[in-house]
Subunit: 366 residues, 2 copies
DNA sequence: CTGAAAGCGCTAACAC
DNA sequence: GTGTTAGCGCTTTCAG
């Protein structure tokens, strides 16, 4: 390699310039170039200028991969999402990505489509890629030893939206049980007594009236809240009012249809998530049922359209933005040192709109 | 370092196991361990078993970062999205992530919120992280020298949804001009002559009736299509029917309000994207206007709610899933070798639903 | 203030 | 079939 003076002509590089090229062109050692580029140690102002000039001339871009190798940190977080396209998770992604960036981290994203195997692979790949930490929306409640910290190469993890009790991992969730109870209470306040529950839950085939085993915690809690709120006021639940569906298309609709076809069909439906709200809307539309009059609906997770359509939809809102922010901060906290890995459960609040009919005969307005 | 036999006791490692640890525990050289783990070259079956066993016992996870450094490839794609949360881009993300994975690539995602500076930074960070290629939804049409291939370290790039004519980069877009023309033609077919256009366009302040300079190509093409279709049938465009808004909340609503308040207000509105459709819905709701009767609407980009609400919304659908797939395949094609970097423009199609009123007096059904 | 040299974990010639 | 060795690009002691 020929030695180049300070103002040497720009060499033609086939590959992207390395720190060696910069050092050479500036006529200094690699170490000095690194000091300037990495902005540490001490370098004569003049030398610094030379190096910076050389870097600029060469269009030098640091190879962060190489830096990572020495530093042992990649400034990258892994985000494993159960279902991109579901409004609540899209929002979570946006916030995770944006606030990670604000903290100097990039985000590697994987989508599992609620499939266990995809999740397992995603985690492995991210560990291989040496992410500094993981934010995971877990999609299964069994066979999750791959999420056990002992298999995580010492990398911190935060669960988002769902907990995994047996593993005792840090999680950031919504108060789903309370949210469901509030929804049911709202129906009751408005004179409803026949209240149904349609649950969207990945990983089951078609639709079924029996509660599947191994539901993720958020759904589980919403179901528990529903039963608890009904029981609290002594309202009986007709088993035909509760149904579970495994996909957003046919079985979700079928589940809703099934409930509406029951002998003493509910006047009100609690939909377990955004997909299910859409399914209720779809069936109502097909049957010519006017939401908020012929059929009442409360959904979970506020979506951009929920407030704007007519009638607008009353929802139990998951504070997903805040949850995502908390998850990132908690994770970065764990990475940086302080192991204050405390789980948080954020309150959910009922957003009153127009989709619940007031069944009270007189004018008993609250 | 002490030599360990085949069945040596498991050493307690503070840091994650490296290939050295595996080799040592298996009693072979690093190279052999690498051969087994990387599945190349030839190794005696017995040795292979030893190595695999050792790796398993140690919970060995390959350090892909180190591998990348040698290989010069990271198997990672960079995705720079203009607005996470807009249905069309969320879908693009899902497809990019999923199909990249199907090709053995992971995806680093950044969100620019349509801000030039964020985009510039995102690209730089991704180059630093040595992504093998970039998929970018560019948010600006000026100052984009950072997207010039000569500043991209030789890494291929594919533009999604929008072109950048001066740079001549490969792009995958929709036939926006044609789409807008189809929408206008549909209005006209249904007897509308006063047809308005509300445009959502980031990076302007508030709302304005004049067409801002430097609009991204997709929006530009939609606007051009609108004017062209009107001109084609000799329909005059009242300037008051066209308005531009810079944010999804107040100014989008204000733009719609402004148009509806015009002396000869349009009977039909073409909304330039999903955000704008929502704004039209919002204003219509506030004014008690029934879409599909009092005011007709055609939007762009099909969203999950568009078909389900009442009335359902007629849209010009961007084939975003296919576009995203094509973008990934094109990019990976460029990475792998074959520089068949041809841009594609995919057809858009009008999805007829219920949001356009038939103004023709008699029963001239088509 | 700057340079020489070691090494992060891995793979790939090249020997034997 | 397997081991030795060099080196990807970078940072960081340690000398001077």
């Amino acid at each position: 390699m020929k030695q180049l003076g300070n103002d040497a002509p720009l060499p033609i590089l086939s590959a992207p310039a390395t720190i060696n090229d910069v050092a050479q062109l500036a006529g200094v050692s690699r170490a000095t170039a690194s000091r300037v580029l990495g902005d540490y140690g001490t370098v004569k102002a003049e030398t610094r200028t030379m190096v910076l000039g050389a870097a600029a001339r060469l269009g030098y871009v640091a190879n962060v991969i190489a830096r990572s190798m020495r530093a042992g940190t990649t400034q990258t977080l892994g985000l494993v999402i159960a279902e991109i396209g579901l409004s609540v998770f899209d929002t979570a992604m946006r916030v995770v990505i944006d606030s990670a960036r604000a903290h100097g981290y990039q985000v590697l994203v994987s989508n599992t489509n609620e499939e266990l195997e995809a999740e397992r692979t995603a985690i492995r790949v991210m560990l291989e890629k040496q992410v500094d930490g993981l934010i995971v929306v877990p999609s299964s409640v069994t066979d999750l030893d791959f999420l056990n910290p002992k298999n995580l190469q010492g990398r911190p993890i935060v669960l988002l939206d769902r907990t995994l009790a047996p593993l005792g991992l840090t999680s950031v969730t919504g108060a789903n049980r309370q949210g469901a109870m509030d929804a049911v209470a709202h129906f009751i306040e408005n004179g409803h007594t026949r209240i149904g529950l349609v649950v969207f839950t990945a990983n089951i085939e078609g639709q079924t009236p029996e509660q599947p085993a191994g539901l993720i915690s958020s759904i589980n809690d919403r179901i528990a809240g529903y039963y608890e709120a009904m029981a609290a006021v002594g309202l009986a639940v007709n088993p035909a009012w509760v149904c579970f569906a495994g996909d957003a298309d046919v079985s979700a609709s079928a589940a809703v249809e099934g409930i509406l076809d029951a002998a003493d069909a509910p006047t009100a439906l609690l939909a377990s998530n955004g997909n299910m709200s859409l399914a209720v809307l779809k069936v109502a539309k097909a049957r010519g049922l006017l939401i908020g009059r012929d059929l009442s609906l409360v959904g979970f997770d506020d979506a951009p359209w929920a407030s704007i359509i007519t009638p607008s939809i009353t929802v139990v809102n998951l504070p997903i933005e805040e949850m995502a922010r908390v998850a990132v901060e908690n994770l970065i906290g764990q990475i940086s040192a302080a192991p204050d890995a405390r789980s948080s459960e954020l309150p959910m609040n009922l957003v009153l709109r127009e989709s619940v009919a007031d069944l009270r005969t007189a004018s008993t307005r609250k």
